[in-house]
Symmetry: C2
Subunit: 256 residues, 2 copies
């Protein structure tokens, strides 16, 4: 089942995606996945709808160094992204001037239910200011600018997270595809690790890691995360009009 969130002339709503358009539903994170046999809500045509980020999370968490088999030697480790850095399909990724290299990372995201279990799956682009990571040990800034977490286009409630194909396409050029079978730690291991400490709830997102290639964004271009099972998440890239402030080199591991 495909669940999306749309802006339409009547407001913003969750919906089921069907061949006839978008059938509006109650918030499924409160009601549970709807019973298809009982649905009778209004249908919005695709022409009248704009896809939004499929969730409004409170927590967005990713896995550090979970990009390939070699990372298996490192202990699992998580990082947090600001909830308000999330943008939906077609939302622009905005780059401040002077920020250095900013990479797109194509990832599968687990969408979390109210009870902490997996509600479904969507695509995510874990946008990362690569040069800033060297002087930002906690990555709050390097991964935390507004628009640095595109997600969507919809939630698929039934999916094998280990075999789903993920492809990164920058400015129309495919960089290559991969499955999560290549990750140092499987999706199950990631969710298991996080469950040992992290409070998660309705609409939260777990970015499980980037199994394939990543690549730099350029203003004026586009970034797409593509999957036969999950659709295509495409975002234009543009200059934010702001200048990234310069901060001197810092030290790793200090208390605080």
């Amino acid at each position: 089942m495909r669940i999306a969130r749309i802006a339409h002339p009547g407001g913003e709503d969750f919906c089921l995606m069907g061949v006839d358009g978008y059938r509006l539903i109650e918030n499924p994170f409160r009601t549970g996945v709807p019973d298809l046999r009982r649905l009778s809500g209004p249908v919005v045509s695709a022409a009248d709808a704009r896809l939004l980020a499929p969730v409004q999370p409170r927590t967005v968490v990713g896995m550090a160094h979970n990009t390939g088999p070699a990372d298996r030697a490192l202990a699992p480790e998580a990082f947090l992204k600001p909830a308000r850095s999330v943008v939906g399909p077609s939302g622009a990724i905005e780059l401040p001037a002077g920020i250095g290299q900013v990479d797109a990372e194509a990832e599968l995201a687990a969408v979390i239910a109210a009870d902490g279990s997996v509600f479904g799956w969507t695509l995510a682009n874990d946008v990362t200011a690569r040069d800033l990571q060297a002087t930002d040990a906690r990555w709050a800034r390097a991964k935390g600018y507004p628009t640095f977490t595109p997600v969507g286009p919809w939630i698929e409630t039934s999916l094998d997270p280990e075999t789903v194909e993920l492809e990164l396409v920058l400015d129309g050029q495919p960089l290559g595809s991969a499955t999560n079978a290549r990750l140092a730690r499987s999706v199950g291991e990631v969710l298991g690790y996080l469950s040992t400490f992290l409070p998660l709830g309705a609409q939260d997102l777990v970015l499980v890691g980037a199994p394939g290639p990543y690549g730099p964004l350029a203003a004026g271009g586009t970034a797409s995360v593509r999957s036969p099972q999950l659709g295509t998440l495409t975002n234009p890239v543009r200059s934010s009009g702001l200048v990234a402030a310069d901060h001197p080199r810092t030290v790793q591991g200090a208390l605080g």
Copy 2:
């Protein structure tokens, strides 16, 4: 003006704190600070009310190494805490078995308005699993367990954040007090730094740093952050009944 959030027989609401009790108000993050001359809502007596965390944030951010003048040599750097780690006054801080030393840190928290400006101020305890920091470079786990961010007891809308006194009291023993004048970076500098990248909005929290002593928590004890201007935030400390999973040593600064 003191604004709190309470649970009462009629539900959960924001309120103004007065000598006669808690006067219920609309969500002030939507309506703005209420006009005292026009208030006519119901008043809940203190006996019928339980203070909740005064906000339900989407983003909780703290400052790394902003604990004293020596940290001035380091560049400013932020970390994120999970929004769902927030608990209110009287909520228990829960310690998993085997987690090692867990410290209380007494801090001032800026409460953010819908437009990103400062709405007011409250107290926070930035609970930190000290031993875990050595193997958790991003601190998502070391600072991210459920209940690791007590905040409250209320929001003060008018306060000088540099001169407010903050005192940490563990198990009834005062560890000493300090003002933010001792921080490596002032509250204004902290907010200025974060404004260069971090998207913040209604009910978000900025923990500005711990200017005074910190100290270890013990199950069965209590932790209080005390201020003449902001009240006292007291939380009991207890065992969570869970065991902290063991994860081997990791490496700082890896990509991901």
